[in-house]
Amino acid sequence: MLNSSIPTLALLFQEAERGRFDQMFQAAAHPDLSKFLVIGALLFIIGVAGVLTRRNIIVIFMSIELILNAANLNFIAFSRYLSQTGNPNALAGQIFTVFVIVVAAAEAAIGLGIVIALYRNKETIWVDEIDLLKW
């Protein structure tokens, strides 16, 4: 009776119907896709929360890295999942991940450069003091 078009939720609630220990054991021994996705989602939420709430621009950067890594984790998870199902294009996810890491590195380099420039001008890296966008 579950809608098969929502795989994540469906997987979650399928697991819930088994016995608790068995479930835990099985999950630890053979972590399935949903585990990765849940962790990815958590990472993403932590990253978003960090971006939204922290005032230190370095920390915000770090939070952005978390978001990116959440995405990477999803890529990897789906890659693994798809390779188990025998999809020949499963490796695409891993390649994507490599790309994301490269982009993140570049981003970090530029972003930190900006931060340094900002600091030299404003003598602060607290984002609530950087309000030039306000007219």
Binding site: M1, L2, N3, S5, I6, L9, F13, V48, V51, L52, T53, I60, V127, D128, I130, D131, L132, L133, K134, W135
Partner: protein
């Protein structure tokens, strides 16, 4: 030869074009310019003479039929006018038709029936008539135009030759001869044209050339004013002429003489006081003639026209152009003879002009002014002749006048030339010793104009007076005769005065420097090193030195500064200012004209000499009356006069026939024109019981009055030179009136010129105050309106917009401003929230389902 007459106007035009267009650019010499001008006119004259000879006397003479060049193919459709509606003269045509029907009925009746009174029913129709008006450019050779061609080219030739001498040294030599040639062309078109439109073209052309030539010395204010005055005065006349041409076209549907007169001759005659269409046409024509021929009240321009060079005065303002009015009246004699009213008007205006101008001539001191008034007076005589129905005699006087007046003008020019541009007769005197040729030729002109018997003026003037006394065309002929006789006396008097003051008596030019200021101007220009230029250089010649009324006495001035830069002769005479005879180029034309002035009258020997000559009009076609007769309409027979016997008729027989015809005409026209009241000649004839004796009485009278005039002149100016001043004192008011030309100029200045200026000022005020006021007022109104609209826009519309917009903006701005914190994280938060919202919205259904499933699984 007739077929070449189109060359006659063309040659002077070509000459004028060459001189006018190239003369200055190529720096033609005076010889070349003069040669071109004189040569072209001489050729014209030769062609005219040959054409007239072959027309009148040659083997295939067409006389008296008019010869049109279109017969030989020379014509072109000048104005393809198209259809015209003939909407005038319906009444006259009615009468014409009725008359014809009555005559037909009467002819059909037996004599017994005719004696009984009978009602005759007449049916006339008055449907609109149409005609095809095509005006062709073709020349017409007929008795009238041939005389004018010969006068214009012949006298013109003499004057052209004279002018080459007179104008010698003028910077505008080429210009002068270009204008003169152009004038010859226009004048020849005027007299040779075969329709009214061509006459009008020539008419305007001569007016233009007159304007140009009067204003030849246009750097002089006086000449410029005179030229404008002539032009404007002529406009008044041309207006009447133009109306008359419209009338002719509207009545007859054609402008061709042959067609118009053929129709007009059967129109009913309009008696005194009856103003039919032909009277109106004649009035218009006569107004035109008054302007061109300087008749009262449009005579004012001619005396002023003397500001032009003297050859111009001779050619245009004495011999040819001013007689254009006579040409026109004689050409349209059919129309004039149809209107007794207009005949009377013509005669009275002519008589009034004759006496008016003659009395002015008595007191003028400028030699050219005297001649100018003399011309006006003689033109009056010519119109008298036309008015009393003697058109041929009028043309005869045109001819003799052309001879002797051209002669006298040229003689005056010669005097002025010899006197170094002195025109005041009070500074002349005793010139016969210095200028013998001029003197003797002038003498011929003097005797001719006074009317001494063998000279040309006698024949024409005496005929005019006789015809006035014996006219049956109009009433009041005796008044015309009386005025004419008095004017003739005055003529003899002032001409004798002119002779005496100029050629006889004391040599007054020695009393003071006789040189005109023109010479000084020449000298001063020379001193300043100015180049001769006709617009810059003060011109030499024809400059009256004295204002009218200015005292002229001995003038003591140093004459040594008159350094001779003056072009002609040796310069030694400038010191003493002794008059000198003019060069042959000037006195030879004088001699030719003098010869013509002496013998020119023999082509018109009057009927009073029939016992000597054997014929009333001796000489066949050579007699001017016989020559012109076929173009004169006879009101009795209602046809043009038949060509008289001419060569083949035996003299005695011819005389008899002519006498009979004359008698019939004289008594017959009484029936046509009704009772004309007291007739002087007939009254005398009733006393003497002899026509011949009556004519001789009038000849003797005119000779006596001429003698009285001459004797009075001699008495006043030769024998008793103190008399003029005494009589001028005694008759001071009359003298002043004459001296000031009856104040006509002042009157016109006050009545016409000043009123015109007033009217112009009024119209200007109307324009500047009312019209401009309306425009400005409208502008003011629209400005006020726009101010109101602007106010509404500014305060209401803008206010509304501003208020509402400002209110909304003010209302909303805190909200939006609050959103713009400037913190990046706020924006990021909004993005995240928005993303979440979007996802939630996208999966709304699934979320609801999932929540429901959870709830169901929990409970």
């Amino acid at each position: 030869m007739q077929k070449y007459i189109w060359l006659v106007p063309l040659l002077p035009l070509i000459g004028a074009a060459i001189n006018g267009l190239l003369g200055r650019k190529l720096r033609f010499s005076e010889t070349l310019i003069g040669g071109i001008a004189v040569g072209s006119v001489a050729l014209s004259f030769l062609i005219s003479a040959a054409a007239v000879y072959s027309y009148g006397f040659g083997g295939h003479a067409e006389w008296p039929k008019p010869y049109l060049t279109s017969q030989d193919g020379f014509s072109f459709n000048w104005i393809p006018g198209g259809a015209v509606s003939i909407n005038q003269g319906g009444e006259a045509r009615h009468e014409q038709q009725a008359q014809k029907q009555i005559e037909e009925r009467l002819a059909a009746m037996t004599p017994e029936e005719r004696s009984q009174p009978h009602p005759i029913l007449i049916a006339t129709t008055d449907s609109p008539r149409y005609s095809l008006l095509n005006i062709e450019w073709s020349y017409q050779l007929d008795p009238l135009s041939s005389i004018f061609m010969l006068i214009v080219t012949g006298v013109g030739l003499c004057i052209f030759v004279f002018a080459t001498g007179y104008m010698h040294g003028e910077a505008g030599f080429y210009r002068f001869f270009a204008y003169m040639g152009l004038f010859m062309f226009a004048m020849l078109v005027l007299v040779m044209g075969s329709n009214f439109l061509m006459m009008f073209v020539g008419w305007e052309g001569v007016g233009l050339c007159s304007y140009l030539l009067i204003g030849y010395y246009f750097d002089r204010q006086e000449a410029a004013n005179a030229s404008r005055k002539a032009f404007i005065t002529n406009r008044v006349g041309d207006f009447g002429f133009a109306l008359a041409i419209f009338g002719v076209i509207a009545t007859f549907g054609s402008a061709q003489y042959t067609e118009v007169f053929e129709q007009a001759k059967s129109f009913p005659i309009e008696l005194l006081g009856h103003w039919g269409i032909l009277s109106w046409i004649a009035l218009g024509l006569f107004i035109g003639a008054c302007g061109k021929s300087a008749q009262l009240p449009l005579h004012v321009w001619l005396p002023d026209a003397m500001a032009g060079p003297t050859p111009v005065s001779a050619l245009i303002h004495a011999a040819t152009m001013v007689t254009a009015g006579l040409y026109m009246v004689t050409r349209t004699n059919v129309i004039f003879q149809h209107s007794q009213t207009m005949l009377l008007v013509v005669a009275l205006v002519g008589a009034a002009t004759a006496i008016f101008a003659a009395t002015i001539g008595i007191t003028q001191n400028d030699i050219k002014k005297v001649l100018a008034y003399s011309t006006v007076s003689q033109l009056g005589f010519m119109f008298m002749a036309c008015g009393v129905g003697a058109f041929a005699i009028g043309i005869f006087h045109v001819m003799t006048h052309a001879f002797f007046k051209a002669l006298m003008f040229l003689g005056a020019g010669s005097v002025i030339h010899g006197m170094h541009h002195e025109q005041d007769m009070r500074r002349m005197g005793g010139l016969k010793k210095y200028m013998p040729y001029t003197y003797w030729t002038f003498m011929a002109g003097w005797l001719a104009i006074c009317g001494i018997i063998p000279f040309s003026g006698f024949w024409s003037k005496d005929e005019i007076l006789w015809k006035s006394a014996s006219t049956t065309h109009i009433p009041l002929g005796w008044i015309v005769w009386l005025i004419g006789t008095i004017a003739a006396t005055c003529t003899a008097f002032y001409m004798t005065r002119l002779m005496a003051m100029t050629f006889w008596g004391k040599e007054r030019f020695l009393e003071g420097g006789a040189g005109g200021e023109a010479d000084e101007a020449h000298a001063s220009a020379y001193d300043k090193g100015l180049a001769a230029h006709d617009a810059v250089q003060p011109s030499a010649g024809d400059r009256p030195r004295h204002e009218p009324g200015e005292h002229v006495g001995p003038v003591h001035e140093d004459v040594a500064h008159h350094v001779g830069t003056h072009g002609h002769g040796d310069s030694s005479h400038h010191g003493a200012h002794i008059p000198h005879e003019s060069p042959p180029s000037m006195w030879v034309p004088l001699a030719v004209l003098a010869l013509l002035a002496v013998i020119g009258g023999f082509v018109g020997i009057g009927p009073a000499f029939r016992s000597i000559t054997g014929s009333e009009h001796p000489g066949g076609r050579l007699h001017i009356v016989n020559w012109l007769n076929p173009i004169i309409w006879n009101p009795v027979t209602r046809e043009f006069n038949p060509a008289e016997g001419g060569h083949e008729a035996a003299p005695a027989e011819g005389a008899h026939a002519e006498a009979t015809a004359t008698a019939e005409g004289a008594h017959g026209s009484a029936s046509v024109y009704g009772d004309t009241g007291f007739n002087l000649a007939h009254s005398v004839e009733n006393t003497t019981h002899s026509e011949l004796a009556t004519e001789w009485i009038f000849i003797v009278i005119s000779l006596i009055v001429a003698g009285i005039g001459i004797l009075l002149g001699m008495l006043f100016y030769v024998w008793r030179p103190e008399l003029p001043n005494i009589w001028a004192q005694r008759l001071r008011p009359l003298y002043n009136a004459s001296y000031h030309k009856y104040w006509v100029d002042e009157l016109y200045g006050f009545v016409v010129t000043r009123r015109t200026m007033d009217a112009a000022r009024g119209v200007y005020a109307f324009d500047s105050k009312l019209v401009d006021g309306i425009v400005n007022g409208l502008a003011w109104l629209s400005r006020q309106f726009s101010r109101i609209v602007g106010g509404v826009d500014k305060y209401f519309v803008d206010g509304l917009v501003n208020t509402v917009a400002a209110f909304i903006v003010r209302l909303m701005s805190p909200l939006f401003r609050a959103a713009q914190t400037g913190f990046t994280q706020n924006y990021a938060l909004v993005m995240v929230l928005g993303l979440m919202l979007a996802v939630a919205a996208f999966f709304a259904k699934d979320i609801v389902t999932a929540v429901r499933a959870i709830v169901a699984s929990v409970f």
